[in-house]
Symmetry: D2
Subunit: 349 residues, 4 copies
């Protein structure tokens, strides 16, 4: 940690700050410049947030800069090889293959889901997505089928061999959701619902953690720390766009977050161009970009009849467009293998 | 609702859109311009989101504009007089008086809390704030004292006569939190934790709903609708700053949201300059501004020794500064009564 | 245009609004719903902004929604085939080939520029970038070599056959910049410097217009309209990242803007991953993504010794990394040709 | 400056970084922690940006943190008393009085301007605003009356004794604008038009510099440095709202920027609630808040008939509302004098 003293701080003021730091059992390394003095602080990392806030309350201190990252379990420092989440039957997230999760926004009924599952399977995706409990901005919108939806997902898994991912919003539903799903999805709105993250952390079930609408990379990784700190290390991160001043798309897809997270963390990162754009015409080009930037997979919304979807129709691909997208992203993904990826070497170094 | 057809849509395309609208039992009012046709749509408001999304999936439709606001229970249309929340003993939120909620970020121990409570009380605040369950960005930061903290809050209430507000993060803690608090606080991170909002909605206990870090006014009011829709109409809104590109303050205080919400809703709105700025030197001027803009109250962090606070020390006022702030905001508030407030008239019209 | 009257507007209020609209010689098409009345407005598009603002000042009107886009010359409606800018010697922007503009942030001296130009040329780029007049946030930073830099660019063009692009910041420099460059670059900070845009519009010289740091798609295209409206139709758009709450990268690259602009406009769009990320390790993956999303070209910073660059060293690629990037983006670009691009079909339809 | 080496950097890597720093003639103060080494760097401030960028290109360096602020002339360090700009006839900006600048967005014609000037004068404002050259997002909107507008402003000054402020967008208009105005306004879109700032800096005429739509406090003050560095020290800063995700107001008024800037700089800061909100109903409450937060003045749009304004009608106050606003802000401003303002003491300390 570095504490920067206010300009032209007196010797007495400097000593006061030093005393506070030493009082918390940290070592002090002052560097006296012409206009400002900075104090390097070394010591127990677990108390540094407390010391930082303490220093920030002092009028003698202008600012405090943390040097060490707050990440522990998510960082390459904790684990030197990339996390690969094995869902069985050869389906993995984080390995060499591109993993595709596709399906409707909401599970609506048996016909809709089975039809979608077959389309998704035949186009080469490995995982079926579908919401049974839906977070809707308005309480007056369709809230999902609940357990009935979960049963339909399980039925689709049985019929197609696809793995299943579905969202969990409420601790009260943990048991029922876990009974039916292969991956638990935590949505953007719940990325900092710490009560939920802690409960998920106690499970033996992979989790996909979507980035919050206004979450920095740091906050996103710290949310993953909440899960991992309780023991569950099977975490997938999902970039789904952030909120900006942009008015033409539902969100602004922050694709540079993918290689950035890969430099910081061993966890797999996938991208969701459906929520990232909110417009089906943009889903395929952004999916291609996500694969090109190095994402470990793609989550995308597909519906047999988007015009009759109970939610997110405008950002859902029709079956034929989904098949085209699959061709395109596989082609891009193959081309990535033809050259050695420089930034991956960096990440793994 | 207005559906705008794509430029130079053919007669056949127009008819296709009309058929879809009529198929959902809405009435159709086309207006044919030189370049574009728009279709006015009238009918059952409860199905409009579904119809809107359906239309947005059609390539014949360029965009869809909703005309009616999504708010119901929060709007002036539902209730024509301002909501005043009566906490007993003459303490109200939303009435003619300015209500001040003050106290430490976290309840740390008996001495700290009792000392703060007395300071807060003697300076003229009515409600004591203090976190027992703390949402922290990192799992490695202090997480609060839990029930012990709640008991200390209740003890402070007994000793001072102050009312109490504390944050609820987890449905599992509803009973214990309700046992001790007068107002339940829902934090910014949980503004769209719908499972929690629905449970709160079933209680007979006032709720203060903080605005999410990236929540629009619409999303904020719809979160309040989640609570009210379950039956609990005692909702206070709290502006606490939003996330922007600004790097010098913790958040960017959006003070124009206060009069804006007051135009849309009968619910009381208070402002939190501590979280809105993150820097104690800015708390008092922004508190003054919040009162001047018309807020129904202020929530502010106070600590007897901010340099020893376990959380949020940098944004906590020292006792003497808190007393100065109280003087200043009361002076501003009194001066507001000396003229007729134009925008309030608008809101109540 | 649609004017939405306030809820439960009286017949008299409705008539007042209608009279205003008719007074401006627009036609009126009212649609009376249960709670609100909307009025469709048809008429002369050139006066619609004036009428819109007039209606927005009326307390009887709740909001006004424009239906027609404000774009004219930039839109597919004005021109049905994509703009291809021919720089001579087979170098084009907007055609079937991917165009690469590369070079140092600033022209520093002869050795630096000639060395970079050769690297850029041999790796397959067509256009040399280099700043002679530099917009720097601080007046105390290196401001560029001025005309001397322009002469070096022209010398590099002569020696390598590369075309040249350089930034123009000041109307006073138009003649000298035009004497040496093939494309005039307008930087992000000057995207709404309308005096400059109008002067550029009078020239017979291609222009590349970078997106402003906080510019919506609409504002960006309207800035291009300023140039085109004066007669210069050779405009290239360049996405270079927007400002968000993100703190880990210099900007947030908004790659979905590329296909979005291609749907709205016939102008070529290129992407600048150097400014979009600010970090050289992220430049290559984001360049790949930009090509995959469909950009017509890439602008990228290259320096023989980034550690000695006078500006933007941290986001400049070293020669060997630039060559790797070129291989990668060419591979991605070729793979795009192997399938028919759906969204291009949409754009051209 | 602090250079943070990458985790577990070897002795050799450390030495390499040290050599680079010494090669630029800076002193080196390494602090070796358990996981990371940081290097304190002392030396000539004028070369620090260059050294910073150089270090950032090195793979041995994780990040570089500047310690000294980039401000020189704008800071309290340069000048220990607040800048007061004296416009003559007792009109000052930055003194103890609240200065009000009011008038129409655009000068439209003689009747409109003279009528507004009288209203503005009689309500107690000191400065008349009015645009003669208008920056409009679309080239198809009203662009202002040009010199004719300037002449009308001068005529209004003569008739009322008000001082005049008007916007300058183009270096070519410097002479004509200076002939008629008392203060030159630089608009938000031109805050980083450095060519313009440098020319303004050579004049002997006060300048008001509006904050750019996405400008940080640092960038704003550095833009003021561009002006001051050329010799013109009469700079007024104007907060006019920043761009955020908010969709309900034209901009988001960042009122905490006012006390923040006052802590960093001796320059006067005023606030523009008209552009900050874009909605006339919000102008008065936000003007009150701006005064309460400590702004040195207010700029506000007034129009005798907002419904006929050629620009910005929706955010213009009617005469009677302007008079009410003047009463309210004067009352607030007087109440500020009744207590000692703590944060001002801080700023001046």
């Amino acid at each position: 940690m570095i504490a920067v003293l206010k300009r032209n701080a007196s010797e007495e003021e400097k000593q006061k700050v030093i005393d506070v730091i030493k009082g918390e059992n940290f070592d002090v390394h002052p560097i006296v410049g012409v206009e400002k003095t900075i104090i390097g602080v070394l010591g127990d990392q677990d108390n540094r947030t407390k010391l930082k806030e303490k220093l920030m309350t002092m009028s003698e201190v202008e600012k405090v800069v943390l040097i060490l990252d707050p990440y522990k379990l998510t960082s390459w420092n904790f684990k030197q090889e990339k996390t690969v989440i094995d869902l069985g039957d050869g389906v993995k997230v984080g390995g060499n293959e591109l993993t595709v999760m596709a399906g409707p926004c909401s599970v609506e009924n048996e016909i809709q889901l089975m039809e979608t599952a077959k389309i998704v399977k035949s186009a080469g995706a490995e995982i079926l997505r579908g919401g049974a409990f839906k977070p809707r901005t308005s309480p007056y919108s369709f809230q999902g089928l609940g357990e009935e939806g979960l049963k339909l997902l399980a039925q689709a898994r049985e019929e197609t061999g696809l793995k299943v991912i579905t969202e969990l919003m409420d601790i009260a539903h943990i048991d029922v959701v876990c009974e039916y799903t292969d991956i638990i999805q935590i949505g953007a709105r719940n990325m900092q619902n710490y009560a939920l993250l802690k409960e998920i952390g106690k499970l033996d079930k992979p989790v996909m953690l979507k980035r919050g609408m206004a979450a920095t990379i740091k906050e996103w990784l710290l949310a993953a720390e909440y899960v991992m700190n309780e023991g569950n290390h099977d975490v997938i991160l999902c970039e789904r766009g952030v909120r900006t001043f942009g008015e033409e798309t539902r969100n602004t897809m922050d694709l540079s977050s993918v290689p950035l997270v890969q430099q910081l963390s061993h966890l797999p990162v996938i991208a969701d161009p459906s929520h990232g754009t909110g417009r089906w015409e943009l889903v395929t080009p952004v999916a291609r970009a996500a694969v090109a930037v190095g994402a470990d997979g793609i989550m995308v919304e597909v519906h047999p009849n988007p015009e009759n979807a109970l939610s997110d129709g405008p950002q859902s691909l029709k079956p034929e467009n989904f098949r085209l997208m699959m061709d395109e992203i596989k082609t891009i993904h193959s081309s990535l293998h033809s050259f050695e990826s420089r930034e991956r070497k960096i990440a793994y170094a």
